[in-house]
């Protein structure tokens, strides 16, 4: 019985490992066709679902060269085989239509959209969240801090889809009146995302600030420091690492957020020229196109998912294992 229980718990623990590796491998293998086809150019190519006429042979040749250069030998062979098959298909098409085309997918727009919305969200939420955290940790009397603290934590639990709906129907009209442009835009999506991560960021920043020992603060007050000086000179330096970790964790959450952004970003594969232009982010591209996509289009979406997974994996690891561990 002892043995069985031990084995069982080991199996469950190992499942986590298997799941994470499984997610990576599954995404990779589903993205493989797109990776083989577009290589790393995918990241810098702004065209999504664009028909390219095949007669433009120069273009084709460049892409093929890149493929070979990037992939190692084994992959190169496979890629070549794929190309051969494709070429055959294309010839068939050639016979029928005479104007053979192929569809190009590039990830630049959603990648840029993801980064920009996150940046706007951070720029908006950071000062306010710091203010709330300072208010909760140092200014408010205990009972007010307790009640407001719980309210903030509950708000962090509200499903993100509700932030999206509110943003679209109530917040975006005001913003577009103020700043011009469309109601669905980079700006409104970023701001709503900012509102969404606000309670989360405030709550974990407050927790970090609360790790400052009371006696350290007291000894600064005992030297005649003002509250501002204690916060600036003692609390911030002391809990700096934890606060940075909290901010990065919130950033990780913003990067992967789907629903709060989906309502507002406009969901068009166009590089924004202004902050008030609509565009798209990786999660939204996935949410709105998975259902209809197939073949290379679907694979390109998986390629995007893989990129998002790797970015957020890196960001979260940085926050948790560098900053937050150090803070402990």
């Amino acid at each position: 019985m002892e043995k069985i229980f031990q084995k069982l718990s080991l199996t469950s623990a190992t499942l986590v490992f298997v799941l994470l590796i499984g997610i990576f491998l599954t995404l990779y293998s589903a993205a493989k066709p797109a990776i083989d086809e577009f290589g790393f150019d995918f990241i810098t190519n702004p065209d999504w679902n664009k028909e390219v006429v095949l007669e433009n042979l120069d273009d084709e040749a460049i892409i093929d060269e890149d493929d070979v250069a990037i992939a190692d030998e084994d992959d190169a062979e496979i890629a070549d085989e794929d190309d051969v098959i494709l070429d055959e298909d294309e010839m068939l098409l050639d016979d029928e239509d005479e104007t053979a085309t192929k569809t190009i997918y590039g990830g630049l727009v959603p990648i840029v959209g993801t980064l920009l919305t996150t940046l706007i969200a951070l720029a908006f939420a950071l000062p306010i969240a710091m203010g709330i955290a300072v208010f909760l940790a140092e200014i408010a009397p205990k009972n007010i801090s307790y009640v407001v603290g719980i309210a903030i934590e509950l708000l962090a639990a509200i499903p993100s889809i509700i932030f999206g709906m509110w943003g679209l129907y109530y917040f975006a009209p005001i913003i577009s009146d103020l700043f011009g442009g469309y109601q669905v835009s980079l700006l409104t999506a970023g701001l709503v995302l900012g509102v969404m991560i606000l309670p989360f960021m405030a709550a974990i920043t407050r927790d970090s600030m609360n790790t400052t020992p009371a006696v350290l603060k007291e000894s600064a007050y005992a030297l005649g420091a003002t509250k501002f000086e204690v916060i600036k000179d003692i609390i911030f330096p002391y809990s700096k690492v934890g606060i940075i970790g909290s901010i990065i964790l919130a950033l990780g959450r913003a990067l992967g957020e789907t629903m709060a952004v989906a309502f507002l970003i406009g969901s068009v594969f166009v590089l924004p020229q202004k902050i008030t232009d609509p565009t798209i982010s990786i999660p939204v591209a996935m949410a709105n196109n998975f259902g209809e996509a197939s073949g290379l289009g679907e694979s390109a979406l998986f390629y995007l998912a893989l990129i998002l997974f790797i970015i957020s994996f890196a960001v979260i690891s940085l926050a948790k294992f560098y900053f937050l561990k150090k803070a402990k």
Binding site: F5, Q6, S9, L10, S12, A13, T14, L15, V16, F17, L19, L20, I23, T26, L27, A30, P127, I128, A129, G131, I132, F135, I139, I150, L154, L155, A157, I158, P159, I161, I162, F163, G164, M165, W166, L168, Y170, V195, L198, P199, T226, K227, F228, G252, G256, E257, T258, M259, F263, P283, M286, A287, G291, L301, A305, L308, F309, S312, F313, I316
Partner: protein, 267 residues
């Protein structure tokens, strides 16, 4: 001068707290006003096809319920392994990986389950949705179990062993019991989290306008339907989306508060 700087800083901080709270109050007010004005008890009796929400609420509960049935035992046993059996590197590796998975983008989990289940089985299904939610839930349960078990004093375990109980007996009878309240709270918070998830369900369970208990086909989901309804042009669909959002939020908040209440009563 110093005092002035101090005053200005404190005022700014309070101001930003007020701004933040105003935003959040605005959202809640919108939710309650719009939600309550479209709310009607018949929403609980009719299915979406007849303009109600019954099938969606039941469907969402079933999805989250099955996810819990999968996720809780797996998460708890994994948490027990990390805290009680695991030694050194492997246990802390699992702890770290689970920590990362906890913050992984939910849409990516959806894509994973899509490739893993939806594509091979040929279509969206309740099972796929439940599995996606379970994957979201497992790391949260692991985290809770792990940290709650770590709070149980070592002496308690040693006392049990000293009485001649075997290790798993000590874990089940003594350690888990001592950490019960904390673990339950954590599980409730995890449940509250997955019940409000939309992104991992979009292309796994999808949603359905009809009442269904058949998990091998597209399954009614409250959150996915909110997304669909909110994007419809008709005012009535949007009103229904607000009512659904209101019900969803109330559910999430009640579960959340229950969790907090249990912990506080214990203290």
């Amino acid at each position: 001068m110093r005092l002035l700087v101090n005053k200005i800083f404190l005022a700014l901080s309070i101001l930003s707290a007020l701004i933040g709270l105003a935003f959040l109050g605005w959202i809640l007010a919108t939710l309650f006003l719009k939600g309550l004005s479209s709310f009607h008890f018949s929403l609980f009796l009719d299915d979406l096809v007849d303009g109600g929400l019954r099938n969606l609420i039941v469907g969402q509960m079933i999805l989250a319920g099955i996810a819990s049935l999968i996720g809780i035992p797996l998460g708890m046993t994994a948490g027990i392994y990390i805290q009680e059996y695991g030694q050194g590197r492997y246990a802390s590796l699992i702890r770290d990986l689970s920590d990362i998975m906890m913050s992984a983008p939910s849409i990516v989990i959806g894509a994973f389950v899509y490739a893993l289940i939806v594509v091979p089985t040929g279509g969206t299904s309740g099972w796929a949705g439940a599995v996606a939610l379970a994957i979201m839930m497992i790391p949260v349960v692991i985290n809770t179990t792990d940290s709650m078990l770590s709070l149980v004093p070592r002496e308690l375990r040693e006392a049990g062993i000293a009485l001649g109980a075997s290790k798993y007996k000590v874990i089940i009878d003594i350690v888990i019991k001592a950490a019960k309240v904390g673990i339950m709270t954590g599980i409730l918070l995890a449940f509250a989290r997955i019940i409000g998830e939309t992104a991992p369900l979009l292309f796994t369970s999808e949603t359905s306008n009809y009442f269904s208990l058949n998990l091998s086909e597209s399954f009614p989901s409250l959150t996915v339907s909110i997304y669909d309804l909110a994007n419809e042009p008709e005012e009535s669909s949007r009103d229904l989306a607000w009512a659904a959002s209101f019900i969803l939020t109330v559910m999430v908040l009640i579960i959340n508060l229950t969790g907090r209440f249990i912990t506080r009563n214990k203290k």
